[in-house]
Symmetry: C2
DNA sequence: CGAAAGATTATGTACATACATTATTGCCGA
DNA sequence: TCGGCAATAATGTATGTACATAATCTTTCG
């Protein structure tokens, strides 16, 4: 369906274009070579998406170099034969995605260095194991209630706040793959004390129940201590991936968790954040 | 400045609101209690941002639960006293950020599970070291040119493609912290053969020169081999963070790099992707 | 009763218009 | 020449309007 006819406008302009004559044949079919530029839209999907593709393409294939200034919205509007608002939407989205930098009065520029980040999925370990076609199990090893500062301290929490601590092991086909030590802020999630975690794992329970608005992560490599090595069934000193994550909700810490995973049984993988380019098949 | 007067409209509606009378006092100051709901805008920033905040707030503080259906655009328009397009923009942005799911005819719903990912910055190791106030140095240990398949193979590249290989060590205050082994596709970046890398490190050079449109990462923990341990100045078997990254440009692999960093001298940290909430101070 | 056809509704896109905002540019006068 | 101010050019926001698109709901007919 999508991809043949241009959104609405079945066949002719509505007659109020951006002053310029209706010269650009946005439709795919006819007028095969009447394009002086090669920056012509492809007729697939909404107009603003076509413009995004066209502009991102110019950038990614180096036609518009980093730091260079783009034609302004009015010019692009004429170039592509669409209204300024449509151009604006496309360009604003590209700017939001980090391809472009815009400054009022100054113009629009190709971003010199993109905010290069890569994204790693936060997956429930149970899902990962299941997706691998293996049998997932977990075991709660310990469960206590503390007040912060009495016996342990959660740095970002005021002393005296009640905390539930959980220690848990995760298995794949019976082999231990991850150790989890978790603190839960009982002021934010009091109902967790009534949950036995016989069936559903703490991580899954929390994910399903508690919204979060931000999280901080630290990933490190550590050698397994003797104790951890014993739990995970590896030799002492084996390289392990250590992930510490604190989740916040409404500026209050919800849970602080520390995962320790055996190096050769677990890895994180993901792709760069800049979805747009991959979305655009560039 | 920003934050007192509402965008334009200095003091009165332009008189074409969404049919409903001008009852909602969007301005901060007067009319202190005439709000039956507490979902009133705060007057800070553009209208569509205020709406985003208001809606995201309702969700994050649980007033609108996961899976629940929101009022439609027309109703929200009336509720907040703005046009449907403004509501549309706010809601569409929240949907793009993963807070909401929209289905034509069906309506807008609070997303049940957010696409939970976390973002780690792709930083130049030199920047990281410099930011720590330490002295950064690097040393090229090896540099060769191969054809793919002859002596080594880059899986995603056709055999015979010319490849530059680099081996490099990175130092912080004279201490080795990271080993880098890199392959560069000479078909994409032929000019790299003329670069000596006496001054600028390969990663930095590539970042500054070659755009990329996507990248894949894998992060693992490994024990240092004897050879690596010697290079990095640690004991054999020390836990190291291994990062493999392949960067693509226009569907062609550009560079494949393998970093090995000493576990207790290097860590990755970052925050969750859902910027919106943090942007909104929620 | 059930399936197909049509009406309805909510979101999606496009365009025009108008004005706000903000640097930059350039002029002008001290 | 330099400092400040006004004109200007670019993006940013808000609204109205119109129609497209896609589900869902309703009705009708076999």
């Amino acid at each position: 369906m999508q991809g043949l006819a241009r959104q609405g406008l079945t066949g002719q302009n509505r007659g109020n274009g951006p002053a310029s004559p209706p010269e650009h044949p946005l439709q795919a079919g006819p007028a095969p070579d009447s394009a002086p530029e090669d920056s012509i839209l492809d007729g697939r999907g909404p107009l603003f998406d076509q413009i995004k593709r066209a502009v991102a393409g110019q950038i990614l294939r180096g036609r518009w170099q980093a730091g260079q200034r783009l034609p302004n919205e009015a010019e692009l509007s004429g170039l592509y034969g669409v209204s300024r608002q449509t151009v604006h939407k496309a360009i604003a989205l590209l700017a939001r995605e980090g391809f472009l930098v815009r400054r009022r009065r100054a113009g629009t520029f190709v971003a010199t260095s993109r905010r290069d980040r890569f994204a790693l999925p936060i997956e429930d370990i149970g899902d990962v194991v299941a997706r691998d076609g293996r049998v997932y199990e977990f075991r709660i090893r310990d469960r206590k209630i503390f007040r912060n500062g009495e016996g342990l301290r959660w740095p970002d929490l005021p002393d005296g706040t009640p905390i539930l601590t959980l220690e848990c092991l995760h298995f794949s086909d019976g082999t231990p793959i991850q150790h989890e030590r978790r603190l839960v802020n009982l002021e934010v999630v009091p109902e967790v004390v009534d949950e036995s975690f016989d069936v559903v794992a703490p991580s899954r329970w929390l994910v399903d129940r508690v919204p979060w608005s931000s999280a901080d992560h630290t990933v490190r490599a550590v050698n397994a201590t003797a104790e951890m090595a014993a739990l995970l069934g590896v030799e002492a000193g084996a390289a392990c991936l250590s992930i510490r994550r604190q989740t916040m909700h409404l500026s209050r810490p919800v849970t602080l968790v520390h995962f320790l995973s055996v190096g050769d049984r677990f890895s994180l993988s993901g792709s760069s954040i800049t979805d747009s380019a991959t979305e655009l098949n560039l």
